[in-house]
Symmetry: C2
Subunit: 103 residues, 2 copies
DNA sequence: TCGTTGGTACGACGATCATCGTAGCAAAAG
DNA sequence: CTTTTGCTACGATGATCGTCGTACCAACGA
């Protein structure tokens, strides 16, 4: 089962902003930015259930904010920094600079 | 009836991102940024009803994106550029730079 | 005074959202 | 082979969202 990722030119601003407008997803993105090495879904200390976590990762992926790569039964998540920067210059940095250091 | 505006330090990133995640509101903000002189609600060429327009302006105001000042029966709208810049540096410019010139 | 204008309040509608639990699957570990 | 691990799929639930129409109000112009 291949995961769908929007192409760089398909990224839409409202969708990206909506993806970033949830505190849980903002925290995911913050963690991903803090440590650029791809990270598994389970390694985020979020106080939500596993199904909810899956939901948030899908929203981020379908908006084009993160990339999810299969690795066995796990998923490796990483930020699509370059794609976001090219399409929406400065946006991700502005968001990351405005989010508190630790949730 | 005094309109409620959040104080600069009360602005919350998720709320602002959510306010900006709707195409209609994005268009309002784009127009407001294009021409910095305060503008009345009715002067935006949006294809929605008056009640919907009122709703969108309220969401923007309550998130702290715009300021609404009473002027007779009208409302003068303006962007809260300085407040946004101080709280979320670079965010508004990044958003405005990413939104298409004309919707 | 009487319309007209610019906007709000309220209630409604269907759609989407965030959340969860349960069930399940595929890969890795034993 | 069996168990565990990591995650998804599905369905449900209550909340919020975007949209609208109707009713209304306050200020202005004739």
């Amino acid at each position: 089962m291949t995961l769908h990722h929007p192409a760089p030119e398909e990224l839409e601003l409202p969708a990206v902003l909506h993806a970033l407008s949830d505190p849980q997803r903002l925290e995911i993105v913050r963690c991903l930015a803090e440590d650029p090495s791809p990270r598994r879904c389970g390694t985020f200390e979020l106080t939500v259930s596993k199904s909810t976590l899956t939901h948030h990762f899908r929203v981020l992926r379908e908006a084009g904010v993160i990339e999810q790569r299969a690795d066995g039964t796990a998923r490796l998540n990483s930020l699509r920094r370059e794609d976001l920067e090219q399409r929406f210059p400065g946006l991700l940095d502005a968001v990351l600079g405005s989010v508190p250091a630790s949730a």
